[in-house]
């Protein structure tokens, strides 16, 4: 068995099995546990009820991101429930000795932005968080996945989880995306092909020249949305791009430790003849910008596509679903997605709120104005991203264009902090979910890249960002 060739997922899994399952799940060791205010209070209450503590506070890191206001650094601006959740997390961290990056801390931010930014996220680790977008960290060749609150309690108590191993799914992106086409377009294309449940039970390993060409921000965008295909996790084998990103980060190894880490990380690749349970190939070299038109991320299409006609769908359940989705979104079959009127543009979320995303958006905003009647929010992923963006003058570009420049947080991706759509409003959003009401009750979300979102902001409608980039002389 040990000589059998293995995938990257197999290797990380094998390295973390404390007790191998036989008729039972395996006990899997967790290297890094990220926690936030929304999915942890009940877990800490559970620990107290049992009279047990946190096994490894040194492997636990906390931040507040989901309910934090973006208009200020005062929790009260997000309401009393937010204040209480944040206060509770702070008290729990203090009691159990867990480092907490709370409001006002220069390292605070969206949990999936600060993990990589601080160098906490490293190749070969197992990383969990009570948040489905934990898959983001897989961009570094870490096995990272979202868990429920009961499992948060398990990890706090034991630093372990009970897990059944999943299946291996190879996703090859063939070809460097053309200018104006981004990682967001690549992952929306994949989800539109395999479906919202297409990855269920599997860990996706992204590979190919399309992935090699991406920076870490792009790889994070792709891994982030693995869950939108139902996958347990997404992975990219670490390479020089990964190592260069990590070098010098606050919690990354340094000196001799760095050299030893590089040796260890070099082995984190799938064996050449490793077996996958499933494979899919996407021609990323010929991709167009993508945008979602329905009420789940698989309902996405090329930006110049027309709204599909449900009548053409053979399966009755799928036909009913599409009909309901188009009705919710206010779209008529056959009309173009281009030129659809947009009310709100949201640039942010753990999917697309890092420096590369803000630079891309700024390249479209620069010298232009947000279209009249459109509200545009730019919400950096972390306070460090915010500071860096300000150092580069990007805040001026956004503000001069008429966009709102905010404090960091999850914001309108999940609409828990007061940043939300009004009923019936349509957004173009760089976030990850277009489920009904996700950005506010009866709000209508179209998912797209930062370039496409910025293009919508300055034109007031769904637009192909390449036409705006081409006009730059």
């Amino acid at each position: 068995m040990t000589s059998k060739s293995r995938t990257l997922y197999d290797k990380i899994w094998d390295d973390h099995v404390v007790v191998a399952g036989s008729g039972t799940p395996s006990i899997l060791y967790i290297d890094l546990h990220l926690i936030h205010e929304v999915t942890t209070p009940q877990a800490f209450a559970g620990l107290r009820a049992r009279g047990i503590g946190v096994r490894r506070p040194d492997r636990t890191v906390a931040t507040a991101d989901h309910v934090t206001p973006t208009v200020s650094r005062n929790a009260a601006d997000a309401g009393p429930l937010a204040v209480e959740q944040i206060r509770r997390l702070e008290a729990n961290c203090e009691e159990f000795g867990i480092p907490f990056y709370g409001i006002g801390h220069e390292r605070r931010g969206i949990v999936h932005v600060i993990g990589p930014e601080l160098g906490l996220t490293q190749p070969g680790l197992t990383i969990v968080c009570g948040d489905s977008h934990t898959s983001t960290h897989g961009a570094f060749g870490a096995l990272a996945f979202g868990i429920g609150t009961t499992e948060v309690e398990h990890v706090l108590a034991t630093q372990c989880l009970l897990e059944h191993k999943g299946l291996n799914f190879a996703v090859e992106f063939d070809g460097r995306p053309r200018p104006g086409v981004t990682a967001k377009d690549m992952i929306l294309k994949l989800i539109s092909e395999i479906g919202i449940g297409g990855g269920t039970g599997h860990v996706l390993e992204y590979m190919g020249t399309g992935i090699d060409a991406l920076d870490m921000e792009g790889r994070m965008t792709i891994c982030n949305m693995s869950i939108e295909a139902g996958a347990r996790a997404g992975l990219v084998a670490p390479d020089d791009t990964t190592f260069q990103y990590l070098s010098g980060r606050p919690f990354a190894p340094s000196g001799e430790d760095w050299d030893r880490a590089l040796e260890r990380w070099a082995g984190l690749v799938s064996d050449p003849d490793a077996q996958y349970d499933r494979r899919v190939r996407i021609d990323s070299g010929s991709l167009q910008p993508m945008i979602s038109f329905g009420t789940n991320p698989s309902m996405s299409a090329e930006i110049d596509a027309r709204v599909p006609d449900p009548a053409g769908i053979a399966d009755a359940a799928e036909r009913a679903q599409m009909t309901a989705a188009l009705e919710y979104m206010g779209f008529t079959p056959g009309e173009t997605l281009l030129d659809q009127k947009v009310d709100v543009v949201f640039i942010g979320s753990c999917t697309n709120s890092r420096m590369a995303d803000l630079r891309a958006a700024a390249s479209v905003f620069d010298g232009r104005r947000v279209s009249e009647g459109v509200r545009a929010l730019v919400v950096p992923g972390s306070q460090q991203v915010r500071e860096q963006a300000e150092n580069e003058g990007l805040d001026r570009v956004f503000i001069d264009a008429g966009a709102e420049w905010r404090e960091s947080g999850c914001s309108m991706c999940i609409a828990m902090n007061g940043d939300k759509l009004e009923p019936g409003q349509r957004s173009v959003s760089t976030s990850n979910r277009n489920f009904e009401g996700r950005q506010g009750q009866s709000g209508r979300t179209m998912l797209a890249s930062p370039l496409t979102a910025a293009a919508a902001a300055v034109t007031g409608k769904v637009a192909d960002p390449r036409t705006l980039l081409e006009n730059r002389s």
């Binding site: 006990i27 489905s132 979202g146 429920g148 009961t150 359940a317 679903q321 009401g437 009866s442």
Partner: protein, 191 residues
């Protein structure tokens, strides 16, 4: 963990595919520090109109829906976020078993860890379940035997054996992991 052995109850039908956790419990209700009380907001935006009045056509607003301990969904039930609040809200409403053509991984795990039984069915049994539920028939679910029975419905289902034992006995998984504390300590020492 609440014990689950056998259950006899009418079933509610919500025959839609890809029911996501944002529909089961919208995010604005996650600003709580408790597990309880979420049933009031189960499927809030499908159940109530903008004025907070029950939508008459919605299945969980039908007469008798409050008595149903079984919910029948479509394909890929519980996709989306990891919020365990989705499971808590179903349980708080009174649902103890969901019958669907597949579940999202995190939802399934959250359900099993809370005594909410996810039951996978194929298309034919799914159709039979919908028909029986629509006719108001009672469903009997026997976890020990791994069987679902109702008028015109009789099928066996698979469930992770470990989770099944935990549910039958009402034992939770944390105790099991804690029993291996010496192995965890050894693992930490050796790496």
């Amino acid at each position: 963990m609440m014990k689950f052995q056998t259950l006899t109850s009418p079933a509610s039908c919500l025959d839609r595919d890809d029911i996501d956790t944002d529909q089961i419990i919208p995010a604005r209700f996650l600003r709580t520090t408790e597990r309880t009380g979420l049933g009031a907001h189960l499927f809030e935006d499908w159940r109530y109109d903008a004025g907070g009045h029950p939508k008459p056509g919605f299945p969980l607003n039908q007469t008798g829906a409050n008595d149903a301990r079984v919910l029948i969904g479509g394909r890929n039930f519980g996709c989306g976020s990891s919020r365990e609040h989705a499971v808590w809200s179903l349980l708080d409403f009174g649902i103890r078993a969901v019958i669907a053509q597949g579940f999202a991984d995190i939802f399934r795990k959250n359900a099993l860890r809370n005594g909410l039984l996810p039951i996978d069915v194929d298309a034919a049994d799914h159709a039979a379940c919908l028909a029986a539920a629509g006719a108001g028939r009672a469903f009997t679910i026997d976890l020990e035997a791994r069987r679902v029975m109702a008028e015109g419905v009789a099928f066996g289902f698979d469930v992770d054996p470990f989770a099944r034992t935990c549910m039958l006995d009402g034992v939770d998984e944390l105790e099991y992991i804690l029993k291996h504390e010496d192995r965890i300590a050894a693992f930490e020492r050796e790496r």
